[in-house]
C-alpha cells in the first residue's frame, strides 16, 4: 500500500495487470531478438504471463479493495471476470500457436496485442469510474481492431478489421458521449457519484445513461446493435474470434453489471429498455443463427443470444442475479472456447472447419473431436449434465423473481432455447447422420488444441454435474464497497 499525493495504491490489487503488462513488453523485446523459428516462445511467454497473473490473483480471493482513489475495485466480482479473461487469453494463445507463417501478421505483435487486449478487459472488470471504463474499453478495442485484420492474406479478414474499427469507434463515441453527459449531470466520474445522481434523474442523466448503454450494447453486440458481429467473427482469425466471443463479452458484461448494480442498487425499474434489448437479442441471435453456413458466423449469432440470456441475471440485480450471470458466463466461456478449440484442432489452426460443409460425417472420421463438439453444443443449448443447463436454471430462477419483465425474459429465454435446439442440433445431426465425408478436408491433431478442447470439455462436464463447486453457498459475488 503506497500513498501518493493523497491517493493510496494497493499493489496486490494491481499485481495481475502489472504482471501481464510485463509479459506483454517481454514478448515485444523477445520478438526483436529471436528468430522466426522461435514463434512458440512468444506465445509461451504470454501463457506464462497469464498463469503468473492468475497466481497473483490467488491471495486476492474473497477480498474487496478499492484503490486509485476509488477508481479501480478489486472484489470477488472482478476476480471472477479476471479469471475468465485470463483463461480465454491462455486458450487463445494456445490456439494461436498453431498459426502458420502464411496466415499473416508478425507473431510478436499478435501475441503482444492479445496480452494487451486482455489487460484492457481486466481494467474494465475492475473499473469503478467512467474514465477508467473508457480507458480499458479502448485498450481492449484498439488491440482487437488490429488483431481482426491479422489474417490479412484473406480478404475477409481485412473486411472484418475495417468493419470492426468503424463500428467500434462509433460505439466508443456513444460511450464517451454518454459518460460526458453522466459526468455533467452528476458532477463526478466515479460510479458512486452517478449513483447519487440517479435518485433524482434529470433529462441529461437519462440521455447520458441511454448513450452509455447503447455504447456498451454495441460492444456486447446486443440486438439491434449487433450488425457487425457476423462479418467480423467470420473474417477475423480463428483464435481472435474465440477471444472476441469470450473476452469482449466478459469485460463488457462486467461493466454493464457493475454500472447497473452500483448505480441502481435493487431498483431495476428504470432498466426496462435494457430488458427489451435482451429480449430482442435472444430472438435475433437464435433465429439469425438458423441459416448460417459458417460456424464462426453461427457462433457469432449464438453469442448475441447468449448475452441476451446473461442479461436476465441482471433483472433481479443483487448478489444472486450476479452469481447466476457469472455462472452462465463461465459456462459460456468454457463451451465457446471449447468449440473454437475443436475447430482449430480439426484444421490445425486453419479456417477450413469454419465452413459447416466440413461437418457431415465428422463423427465417423474423428469420433472424439465430434463428441466434444456435440458436448459443447449441448451445453450451449442447455441440455442437462452440462454447465450450460445449470446456468440456464439459475437465470430462469432470477427471471421469475423479477416481476413481469422477468417473466417476459424467461419466456423469451425458453422460446430462444427451443430455436437454438434446432441450430445446434443441426450440426450434431450433420456430424452423426452421414457415414461418408461430403468434402475432403485436412484434419489436424496438434497437442495445444487438444489441451484446450480437453479443458473446455472437462470444465463443462464438471460444472454441469457438480455446480456447487462454484461456491455459491455464500453470497458469492459481492461488488466491492460502495
Amino acid at each position: 500500500m503506497t500513498a501518493f499525493a493523497g491517493v493510496t495504491i494497493s499493489w496486490p490489487a494491481l499485481a495481475p495487470i502489472l504482471v501481464l503488462t510485463g509479459a506483454g513488453l517481454l514478448i515485444m523485446l523477445v520478438d526483436l531478438v529471436s528468430r522466426a523459428t522461435l514463434r512458440g516462445l512468444l506465445y509461451g511467454i504470454g501463457i506464462l504471463g497469464a498463469v503468473g497473473a492468475g497466481l497473483t490473483m490467488l491471495p486476492l480471493y474473497g477480498h474487496s479493495v478499492t484503490t486509485l482513489a476509488g477508481a479501480f475495485a478489486s472484489d470477488r466480482f472482478s476476480w471472477l471476470f479476471d479469471l475468465v479473461l485470463l483463461g480465454s487469453l491462455a486458450v487463445t494463445l494456445l490456439l494461436s500457436s498453431l498459426r502458420r507463417a502464411e496466415d499473416g501478421g508478425s507473431p510478436g505483435a499478435y501475441a503482444a496485442l492479445l496480452v494487451f487486449a486482455a489487460i484492457g478487459g481486466m481494467v474494465m472488470a475492475g473499473a469503478a469510474n467512467l474514465m477508467i471504463i473508457f480507458l480499458g474499453l479502448e485498450q481492449l478495442s484498439l488491440a482487437l481492431y488490429v488483431l481482426a485484420g491479422m489474417g490479412y492474406p484473406r480478404a475477409a479478414s481485412q473486411e472484418a478489421a475495417l468493419k470492426y474499427v468503424l463500428l467500434g469507434s462509433l460505439a466508443s463515441a456513444f460511450l464517451i458521449f454518454g459518460s460526458a453527459l453522466l459526468y455533467g449531470s452528476s458532477g463526478g466520474l466515479s460510479l458512486d457519484a452517478v449513483h447519487a445522481a440517479a435518485s433524482v434523474p434529470s433529462g441529461l442523466f437519462v440521455t447520458g445513461l441511454a448513450l452509455f448503454v447503447v455504447g456498451i450494447g454495441f460492444k456486447l453486440a446486443l440486438a439491434p446493435f449487433h450488425s457487425w458481429v457476423p462479418d467480423v467473427y467470420e473474417g477475423s482469425p480463428l483464435a481472435v474470434t474465440a477471444f472476441m466471443a469470450v473476452a469482449v463479452k466478459a469485460a463488457s458484461l462486467a461493466v454493464l453489471a457493475r454500472v447497473t448494480y452500483v448505480v441502481f442498487g435493487h431498483d431495476t425499474s428504470a432498466l426496462a429498455p435494457l430488458w427489451l434489448l435482451a429480449i430482442i437479442s435472444m430472438l435475433v441471435g437464435n433465429v439469425g443463427a438458423i441459416r448460417q453456413r459458417n460456424l464462426k458466423r453461427l457462433l457469432g449469432y449464438s453469442s448475441i443470444a447468449q448475452v441476451g440470456y446473461m442479461v436476465v441475471g441482471l433483472a433481479g440485480v443483487g448478489p444472486q442475479g450476479l452469481s447466476a450471470l457469472a455462472f452462465y458466463l463461465v459456462a459460456y466461456a468454457l463451451t465457446t472456447l471449447g468449440a473454437f478449440a475443436v475447430m482449430a484442432l480439426l484444421a490445425d489452426g486453419g479456417e477450413e472447419y469454419a465452413d459447416l460443409g466440413a461437418y457431415p460425417g465428422l463423427a465417423a472420421r474423428r469420433p472424439w473431436p465430434a463428441a466434444a463438439m456435440a458436448l459443447f453444443f449441448f451445453s450451449l443449448a442447455g441440455i442437462p449434465a452440462t454447465a450450460g443447463f445449470y446456468g440456464k436454471l439459475l437465470l430462469l430462477a432470477e427471471g421469475l423473481a423479477a416481476g413481469p419483465w422477468g417473466l417476459a425474459l424467461d419466456v423469451t429465454l425458453v422460446v430462444g432455447t427451443v430455436v437454438s435446439l434446432y441450430v445446434y442440433g443441426k450440426i450434431v445431426w450433420d456430424m452423426y447422420s452421414f457415414t461418408e465425408p461430403e468434402a475432403v478436408v485436412p484434419t489436424g491433431n496438434a497437442l495445444p488444441s487438444w489441451v484446450a478442447v480437453a479443458a473446455g470439455a472437462l470444465g463443462t462436464l464438471v460444472l454441469g454435474l457438480a455446480p456447487q463447486l462454484f461456491a455459491m453457498s455464500q453470497p458469492f459475488l459481492s461488488v466491492g464497497p460502495r
Partner: protein, 522 residues
C-alpha cells in the same frame, strides 16, 4: 446400493463396449445382452423388497440458493415402470442384433444402453432436478439413434420433429419446476399447500404440457407418427413401449400429488383432449396403410385412455391406469419388434403390398396374432384387463367421456384385425421380390416370448400388479376427488376401501375373462 446398480449397469455396460474392438461383433452382442439381462434380473429383486418403499437413497447434492439431492427411490408405482424398462430394454437390445450396418453396431448398442439408463433415471428420480436432468437427457440417445443409426433420410427428418417437440416440452417443464422451486427453495417435491392457487394452476399446466408431449396426448402428437414409423424397430420398442410412459409417470409421481387442486381444475380440458385422442387415434389407425404408423396411432388411442383413467380421479380407474401402462408397454414393444422382423424380411411396411405371410411364417403369424389380440382387448390378455377396469372406474365419474371412449374400443378391433389380416391372410402380393419369407428364428422367438408371457400373465392375474400398487396412488385419486388433505385418516380409509374393492373387481374380471377364453377355445 442395488438401486444404483440397476440404474447405472446399462451405462457401465456401454462404457465396457467402447473398450471392445468395433469388429468383434459376437463379443459386443454378448456383453450388451449380458448387461441388459443382468439389469433386468437385478430389478426383479425389487419385487420382494416390500410394496410401499422398496428402496430409497437420499444423498445431499447441491446446497446453495436451493437444495437438491441425489434422491432415488423404488416404490409400488415406480417398481412397474422399472420392470417394464429393464424387460423391454433387454428384449430390444437382443432385437438389435440383426442391425443391418454391422460396422456401426457398437455405437448402436451403446446408445440403446445409455437410453436405458436415462429411462431408469427418470423412473427412479425422487428429486425434481434429478428427474428433469434424466428427462432431458433422454433426448440425446434417441436423437442420435434416429439421425446416425437408422440409415434413412425420413428417420433423420423424424429426428428433428422429435427433438424440437420434446425439447420444447422439456423447457416448459423446466420453467414449471423453477417456478415451483422459487417458492419452496428445494427440488424435493415438498408439500405445496402454501402455494397460491393461481401459481399452482400455471405450474401444473407447464408440467401437463410437457407430459402431454412426451406421451403423446392429442393434439401434441405431431412428432409421434414419423418417429414411430421410421425409427428402427428396437428403438421404437423402447420409445413407444417405455419412453412414452415417462409422461404418465410424471403425472403419477409428481404433477398429481403436488398439485391436486390444480389437477382437478385442469381435468375437464385434459379429459376432452384424452377422449379426442382416443377417437382420433382409432380413426387414424383405421385409415392408415403403413403398419408401423398404424400401431403408432393405436398407441395414441390407448394412452389417451390412460389419461382418461388418471383424470377421472376414480379409485378403480387410477390403479387400472397403471395396469394399462404396463400392458401397453409390453404390447407396443412386441408389436413393433414383430413388425420390424416383417420389415427386415420383406423390405416394406405397406399393408397393400403384404398378404398371406401366415402360410410361409406360421410362428410369426401366431405371435403377431397374440399381440394384436392383446391390443384390441381380447379377454385373457392384459389389454382387456386394463381397458375394462378403466372403463368401469371412469364410468363412475365421467360417464360421457367413458361412453365415447367405448366407441374407440370397438374401433380397435377394426384396425387390429385389418393389420393382422392385411399382413398374414389373403393372397400373397409380395411377388418375385421376396419369394419366400423366413419364419421366426430361434433368437427372435425367444426375445418376443417374454413380452407375450407378460401380456398373458397380466391378463389372467391383473391383481398381482394392483395388489402391489401402493395406497398412495388410490389415495391421491380419492383425495383429489374430495379435495382433502393427503394424510387425513378419512382419505386413508377411503383409499384402503377403494383398493380392496378394486382388487375384488379384478379377481372377478380375471375369472370372467378365463371363462370367456375357455368358451372361445371350446
Amino acid at each position: 446400493m442395488l438401486i444404483d446398480t440397476v440404474i447405472f449397469l446399462p451405462l457401465a455396460t456401454a462404457i465396457v463396449l467402447l473398450a471392445i474392438p468395433r469388429t468383434a461383433h459376437n463379443a459386443l452382442k454378448g456383453v450388451a445382452l449380458a448387461g441388459a439381462v443382468a439389469t433386468f434380473a437385478l430389478s426383479l429383486a425389487f419385487i420382494n423388497l416390500g410394496t410401499s418403499v422398496a428402496a430409497d437413497q437420499n444423498v445431499p447434492w447441491i446446497q446453495t440458493l436451493w437444495t437438491a439431492a441425489y434422491h432415488v427411490r423404488v416404490d409400488g408405482v415406480r417398481l412397474f415402470f422399472i420392470l417394464l424398462t429393464t424387460l423391454v430394454a433387454a428384449v430390444s437390445i437382443w432385437g438389435a442384433f440383426s442391425y443391418d450396418q454391422p460396422e456401426r453396431l457398437r455405437g448402436y448398442l451403446c446408445l440403446l444402453l445409455a437410453f436405458e439408463t436415462t429411462l431408469l433415471g427418470v423412473f427412479t428420480a425422487a428429486d425434481l432436478l434429478l428427474f428433469y436432468i434424466y428427462w432431458d437427457l433422454m433426448l440425446i440417445p434417441v436423437f442420435l439413434l434416429l439421425t446416425g443409426f437408422s440409415g434413412t433420410a425420413e428417420a433423420r427428418r423424424a429426428a428433428w420433429s422429435y427433438l424440437i417437440y420434446n425439447g420444447a416440452g422439456g423447457l416448459v417443464l423446466l420453467l414449471g419446476i423453477v417456478a415451483l422451486v422459487a417458492h419452496t427453495h428445494t427440488f424435493e417435491p415438498a408439500a405445496t399447500l402454501s402455494l397460491p392457487a393461481r401459481t399452482a394452476w400455471w405450474i401444473f399446466a407447464a408440467f401437463a404440457l410437457a407430459f402431454a408431449i412426451k406421451t403423446p396426448l392429442f393434439p401434441f402428437h405431431a412428432w409421434m407418427p414419423p418417429t414411430y414409423t421410421f425409427a428402427p424397430a428396437p428403438v421404437v420398442a423402447l420409445v413407444s413401449g417405455v419412453q412414452s410412459k415417462a409422461g404418465l409417470f410424471g403425472l403419477l409421481a409428481f404433477a398429481l400429488p403436488l398439485f391436486p387442486q390444480a389437477a382437478h381444475a385442469w381435468a375437464p380440458v385434459l379429459l376432452i383432449l384424452a377422449t379426442a385422442g382416443i377417437l382420433y387415434g382409432a380413426l387414424a389407425a383405421i385409415g392408415e396403410q403403413d403398419v408401423k404408423t398404424l400401431v403408432g396411432f393405436s398407441s395414441l388411442s390407448h394412452l389417451g385412455l390412460v389419461w382418461l383413467a388418471l383424470f377421472a380421479f376414480d379409485m378403480t380407474s387410477v390403479p387400472a391406469g397403471i395396469l394399462m401402462i404396463v400392458s401397453h408397454g409390453l404390447i407396443a414393444a412386441a408389436l413393433f419388434l414383430l413388425l420390424g422382423f416383417i420389415e427386415e424380411r420383406t423390405g416394406t411396411r405397406d399393408l397393400a403390398r403384404f398378404g398371406g405371410l401366415a402360410w410361409q411364417a406360421p410362428r410369426l403369424a401366431v405371435f403377431l396374432l397374440i399381440a394384436a389380440m392383446a391390443a384390441l382387448g381380447l379377454p385373457g390378455l392384459s389389454g382387456f384387463a386394463g381397458e375394462f377396469l378403466i372403463l368401469i372406474g371412469s364410468w363412475q365419474t365421467q360417464p360421457v367421456f367413458t361412453a365415447l371412449a367405448l366407441v374407440a374400443i370397438v374401433l380397435a378391433s377394426v384396425y387390429m384385425l385389418k393389420l393382422f389380416q392385411g399382413t398374414m391372410h389373403g393372397p400373397q402380393r409380395l411377388g418375385q421380390a421376396a419369394p419366400s419369407v423366413r419364419d421366426l428364428r430361434p433368437r427372435e422367438l425367444a426375445l418376443v416370448a417374454p413380452l407375450l408371457a407378460g401380456i398373458v400373465f397380466l391378463g389372467v392375474w391383473p391383481a398381482w400388479l394392483n395388489d402391489r400398487t401402493p395406497s398412495q396412488v388410490t389415495a391421491a385419486a380419492a383425495v383429489t376427488r374430495v379435495g382433502g388433505v393427503p394424510d387425513s385418516p378419512h382419505a386413508a380409509h377411503t383409499a384402503s376401501a377403494a383398493r380392496k374393492a378394486a382388487a375384488g373387481l379384478q379377481m372377478q374380471t380375471a375369472r370372467r375373462a378365463d371363462g370367456m377364453v375357455a368358451e372361445a377355445g371350446s
